[in-house]
Subunit: 156 residues, 2 copies
Amino acid sequence: MASNTLKQDTNMASDTSDLVIEKQVCFSLYSAANAIIRAYRPMLNALDLTYPQYLVMIVLWSHDGINVKSLGTKLHLDSGTLTPLLKRLENKQLLVRRRGLEDERVREIFLTAQGAQLKSLAEAVPNEMLCKSKLPIEELLSLKESCDKMCDNLQE
Amino acid sequence: MASNTLKQDTNMASDTSDLVIEKQVCFSLYSAANAIIRAYRPMLNALDLTYPQYLVMIVLWSHDGINVKSLGTKLHLDSGTLTPLLKRLENKQLLVRRRGLEDERVREIFLTAQGAQLKSLAEAVPNEMLCKSKLPIEELLSLKESCDKMCDNLQE
DNA sequence: ATAAAATAAATTGCGCACAATCTAATTGGC
DNA sequence: GCCAATTAGATTGTGCGCAATTTATTTTAT
């Protein structure tokens, strides 16, 4: 029991093993992503949106009429995530889901007037988030670049 | 309809608005975190662990006997996430959950022999992940630092 | 000694993320 | 023209992540 306590308290593993939580880059990224979604919550509650719903709305505000496949490509999400999410946004009257005219398999997503209007309320969100992060813009840009590279490199 | 098509195709908004998906640092971080968990999956399937379960095991491998509160502080997760996760790991015989002797409210988590043994199989995982990321170590370290800062700054 | 406040964990409920599977429509080859 | 292969999306089931609430225990103040 004494040796066990010693090993824990002095944390011998941290010098020799890579299997320590404090060394894990991926854990830092995972925790930061969770923290970001948590930080967005109060702002997005005011818009009655979750963070993934907010992302979908952002895409729609510049690509009204996009289909589920293209939306999924842009957001790196599949239909298993998007279909129920889009149904919830449809229930909130922010969009409508229409079948494609020339291809019946395709679902095209169109903003309602209400959904389009929500954009003006959302305009303030990105800047408020940048303030909360308290990081200089150059650091945020290099962080973004590394994340984008990571994402690309882990593709299949 | 012609003007609508023009607006979409030339993406006018991208120059004037911050509300474009390609500009969102947070979206990059969110996508990278999802991509990481996806990339870990095949490796961790071999250990019959999910990524959050793997994180818990990493902490236990250097802090056997830790309680739920301390575990939550380390992983930035609460009992609503940890309690059912720990029960699943207990069902897999990787750990046991005991009540604290001096304080009955506390749950202390102890590795089983099987749980302790799993560490040797997990030793190869971090390096394999670094390879998959294809990023130079310096970039990974600066990425980790920025994520840790982001996480700290968004605290409460 | 006891009631109030604080603390640790568990529970409930919702919304992702994603693997796996299924359905329906379209395309390509012959 | 017809059938196999492909494609788009929907469905099902599991495991988080977390807000909100609840239960049980401990601490504090009186």
